[in-house]
Symmetry: D2
Amino acid sequence: MKEVVYTQRVEFGDCDPARIVWFPNFFRWIDAASRHFFIECGVPPWHQTEQAMGVIGTPVVDTHARFVKTATYGDVLQFHTSIAEWRGKSFVQRYRVMRGDDLIMECDEVRIFAGHRADAPGSIRALEIPASIRALCE
Amino acid sequence: MKEVVYTQRVEFGDCDPARIVWFPNFFRWIDAASRHFFIECGVPPWHQTEQAMGVIGTPVVDTHARFVKTATYGDVLQFHTSIAEWRGKSFVQRYRVMRGDDLIMECDEVRIFAGHRADAPGSIRALEIPASIRALCE
Amino acid sequence: MKEVVYTQRVEFGDCDPARIVWFPNFFRWIDAASRHFFIECGVPPWHQTEQAMGVIGTPVVDTHARFVKTATYGDVLQFHTSIAEWRGKSFVQRYRVMRGDDLIMECDEVRIFAGHRADAPGSIRALEIPASIRALCE
Amino acid sequence: MKEVVYTQRVEFGDCDPARIVWFPNFFRWIDAASRHFFIECGVPPWHQTEQAMGVIGTPVVDTHARFVKTATYGDVLQFHTSIAEWRGKSFVQRYRVMRGDDLIMECDEVRIFAGHRADAPGSIRALEIPASIRALCE
């Protein structure tokens, strides 16, 4: 199982008046870590996959996160990212966010490979997992 | 069980290149809906509760969200917010996000009432649920 | 000259560890105020103008902001928005951000009506000010 | 004049439905570049300067930005950061944002070293430029 580490430094503006990371920012970084995982595995950017196979991105359909320790600005976080499970039309992407040896948060997401719906412009639908992408990520 | 509705219009900049809401933005709005719930119930702002009872906010320790339908800019979303469960040192805050009759997403969070730790500046700890706050929210 | 007021409440997560609005958030709200101005004037959403006249949005090419007073969470801000000047291929959009009688910040932006460039996908170009849009906004 | 380069990769979620960076994100990165400049010059984090000399941060009082070329996700941007001018109670921080040889945007900010006001909790005031900080940054 491939694991890719995405590194993110926490900035002043990422923190709230309690001086800790405002939690929605973790999801910003997790989304970047998700994309970074595919890049590191050799998957092209979504505007290329859209033309090649209709994949416009990997939207999240379900996410479950647990916040273990707080982080603040100046901290450098490592997002250990992997795909824990492949399903028919979805997959589980897993993140363990570390600050050195400390576990800061962890998250399991269900994502799909999405394409535009021909019958409803602006809407999306789940595509079969593209075999070529899965092969790059395992 | 009190329910408070927080209304949010989706803006252009909330949407990503796939023209749908970039999911971390839902957590921004959920956090505002959480705060809005307490305001509507009559709980003072955190800088006042900090002085009165040491409560600096209600950080999330666990969140589970399910994304059902996409939303895009121009949509007006209603965040139906309630507290589904009170525990010893935490509570479950629940959100059902609607666009009219359509369920867009739903989310269950575990939050705590946090105070500063005297022994570790910058760190926080879970306080007992303040009875005066709970009384306002039920 | 039409003026439209966009109202925004400052949330906890909009503030930084100094307990004041983190300034990039003002630009998020200004962009929403800009769009809101066009909506209130009767201009259709950009995905409709894209099909009707090739306009995909009004990106900012120049912005100058002055921050006068700080704001914090719980504050309700009014973004007084107008178009101060129409030029050949650009216009000046002006914002005065008030908290009641207090001026919080003010901003002058130069924006264009942008379309896709046929010769360079992914790039944009400035279009002539659409007369139909200008007529709605004056 | 010291120049520090802050590097930032543009992520999918930083882009709007026009597939280009949503401009408020440039200010998020500029604020990080500003902080990064001080860190690289050896200035301690603000929670330390607050205790040592009352400096809680360097809020922006005026900003002027010019957007020259668009950027999109996958791009890597270099924020060339310097202090162009020192004044009595403020300074001009300058950013030239490059993508390789392409100028993407440039920005001149006026910032202050801020402290809490003793007479008005929650408000801030401009401090004299701390000589020890200036010496590190020149």
